[in-house]
């Protein structure tokens, strides 16, 4: 393959992986808030969240392999896993290596979900909020044309979406169990007394 084709491939897989990571975060918050996507049952949102994240991981793998194989810039294979050992833009590539490792840990923990303690899975899953900024800053530092034009608009758009989604997730955190029973009782009593339909309890 010619060098320019490699560059296109690296850039394309990187950008699309970032977009899919953004979609993964949005879908993850949809799952956390027990909402549905229009036309799909609730397990559809869960399944999409898994599939999209796995596709983004696959694209990430292609991105890393292509970047190492490409001889135009000198990125040794070890730089993909050991941070800051690259000859070219060590800082930016280093952040990418950290992102790759974090992605591997998150995906592995989710594939092993049910076999590892639930608290461990949750703790690892929360670090996906760290994964996105790592990938984003890596893109800004190593993306050769991310400084202007449509790639910048795309990246900033993804950043805005992730920021807004994170805010929604933070504000709508689940209430601790001790508060749920009185809340459920209050809303059910009010609804029954007014003769309105008693809704299914939403844990928010």
């Amino acid at each position: 393959m010619t060098s320019i084709a490699f560059w296109y491939l690296i850039r394309a897989t990187g950008l699309v992986s970032l977009v899919l990571m953004t979609a993964t975060i949005v879908l993850g918050v949809v799952v956390q808030r027990q909402r549905r996507l229009p036309g799909l049952p609730r397990f559809g949102a869960v399944a999409l969240h898994r599939s999209v994240s796995l596709v983004s991981a696959l694209l990430l793998a292609v991105h890393v392999v292509t970047a190492v194989v490409d001889s135009y810039v000198g990125i040794p294979a070890v730089a993909a896993v050991v941070p800051f050992t690259s000859g070219w833009r060590p800082a930016g590539i280093g952040l990418g290596a950290l992102a790759v490792e974090l992605m591997v840990v998150i995906v592995a923990s989710s594939l092993l979900r049910g076999r590892i303690p639930h608290r461990l899975w949750r703790a690892v899953h929360w670090t996906s909020y760290l994964l996105w900024p790592l990938a984003f800053v890596h893109g800004l530092m190593t993306g050769t044309d991310l400084g202007s034009g449509w790639p910048l608009v795309l990246a900033l758009g993804c950043a805005a979406v992730v920021g807004g989604t994170t805010a929604v997730a933070w504000i709508g955190r689940t209430s601790p169990p001790a508060e749920r029973a009185p809340a459920a009782l209050a809303s059910s009593s009010a609804a029954l007394h007014h003769g309105t339909h008693v809704a299914v309890f939403r844990n928010r």
Binding site: P177, A181, A184, L185, V198
Partner: protein, 400 residues
């Protein structure tokens, strides 16, 4: 103030101190609790009535299989507001409870021995522990006054330092409890009876403590009695013309009409035909000047607010049921579908939670709707047979 009426069996000692305990009961012999409880067929006094020997054997087996020393917890949490027997036992005869813990700890080789009790009882218990030579081995743990505080897995969670919420029974407590170790949880009354069995008292397993709640001269009275199993209810609790119905077993128990309740023997064989169990040993005689529906509505409202908030049946079912009972307790015709909906919700709850809270509450509601059926019709026509709105059954741990 809760009084104790019998001075035999568990309350034979004149005082709670160690000298009186030794003088009345003698020293604690070395004993094999598994053999003792199996021979005497001792069952647990925490409400479930599970055979104690089976529980002891399974914890010992789990400890041997996993090669981890078990944890022993004496359960004095008594989350049931209407029950007072555990608090009275821990105040009046704590050394029997501590003897029971000592026997089990020695036999099981327990790594950790915990006595869980409400915080207000702990100073007294600490003083009793100080009197004993083996007192340092027992750790005291304060429990809250939530209804679920005494549930086995909630208690294990509390002892571990987490929120006192019931956990899934997929891996039972007897295999993995406090700190991952096999854990044995025994009600304090069971422990006290084991201490009597160890001393050769063969009647101990055939008796049980009962909390009686009644109204005498327009004042509520609560006391605790040590009675033989199988005693007719009418001999333990006065059921006369001034009593409308009897609540047997506590807030997860059953209402029984006064006419039927009097002759019932208070044991499993006598209560099962009417769908009741002795449970935590609460017998409450509802006076005729109170409304059974209003009392039940208050209790179920408390039960709905006391749920752990973890499972669908308690978060979706109990609030609806509690709200529906509030509507039925009013002196007005209810919406036409309400009773049908209430029965449907009751049918949806059993066997679907991490613990038996929804099951027990539904049993109480179903028995109330049956026993107070005439009251339902009266309310629908705008009347009520009660002459006072004063509450009879306690809720929220206040005013036991």
């Amino acid at each position: 103030m809760t009084s104790v009426l019998s001075t035999s069996g568990l309350f034979a000692a004149p005082g709670p101190g160690l000298p009186e305990h030794r003088a009345t009961f003698g020293p604690l012999p070395v004993a094999d609790p598994v053999q003792l409880t199996a021979a005497a067929e001792l069952t647990g006094r925490g409400g479930a009535g599970f055979p104690t020997a089976v529980k002891l054997r399974s914890v010992a087996a789990a400890a041997a299989a996993g090669r981890r020393a078990p944890v022993l917890i004496g359960n004095g949490a008594e989350g049931e507001p209407a029950s007072a027997k555990d608090a009275v036992l821990l105040s009046r005869a704590p050394h029997l409870v501590l003897d029971g813990l000592a026997v089990l700890a020695r036999a099981l080789g327990a790594a950790d021995v915990v006595l869980a009790a409400p915080a207000r009882l702990l100073p007294g218990l600490a003083a009793r522990l100080a009197e004993r030579s083996d007192g340092a081995a027992v750790r005291l743990h304060p429990t809250g006054d939530g209804f679920l505080a005494g549930e086995e897995s909630a208690l294990v969670a509390a002892v571990e330092g987490a929120d006192p919420l019931p956990r899934s029974k997929l891996v039972p407590i007897r295999e993995r409890g406090v700190g991952g170790r096999p854990t044995l949880v025994q009600n304090v009354e069971t422990l006290a009876r084991l201490a009597l069995l160890a001393r050769g008292d063969r009647e101990a397993a055939g008796r049980t403590l009962v909390t009686r709640r009644s109204q005498v001269n327009h004042a509520g009275r609560t006391d605790v009695v040590d009675m033989p199993l199988g005693t007719p209810l009418g001999e333990v609790l006065r059921v006369d013309g001034a009593v409308r119905a009897v609540l047997v077993g506590g807030y997860h128990g059953t209402w029984l009409p006064a006419a039927v309740a009097g002759e019932l023997p208070l044991d499993r064989a006598g209560l099962e035909p009417v769908g009741a169990t002795l449970g935590a040993g609460v017998l409450a005689a509802l006076p005729t000047d109170r409304c059974g529906l209003r009392e039940t509505a208050r209790v179920v409202g408390y039960l709905a607010a006391s749920s752990a908030g973890q499972c669908g049946p308690c978060l979706n079912g109990l609030p609806r049921i509690a709200a529906a009972l509030q509507v039925l307790a009013r002196r007005e015709a209810p919406p036409p579908q309400l009773l049908t909906d209430l029965w449907r919700w009751c049918g949806l709850l059993p066997d679907r939670g991490a613990c038996r809270h929804p099951d027990g509450t539904v049993r109480l509601v179903a028995s109330a709707l049956g026993v107070f059926g005439p009251e339902l019709r009266l309310h629908a026509s705008g009347r009520c047979s009660a002459t006072t709105a004063r509450p009879f059954l306690p809720v929220a741990g206040a005013g036991r």
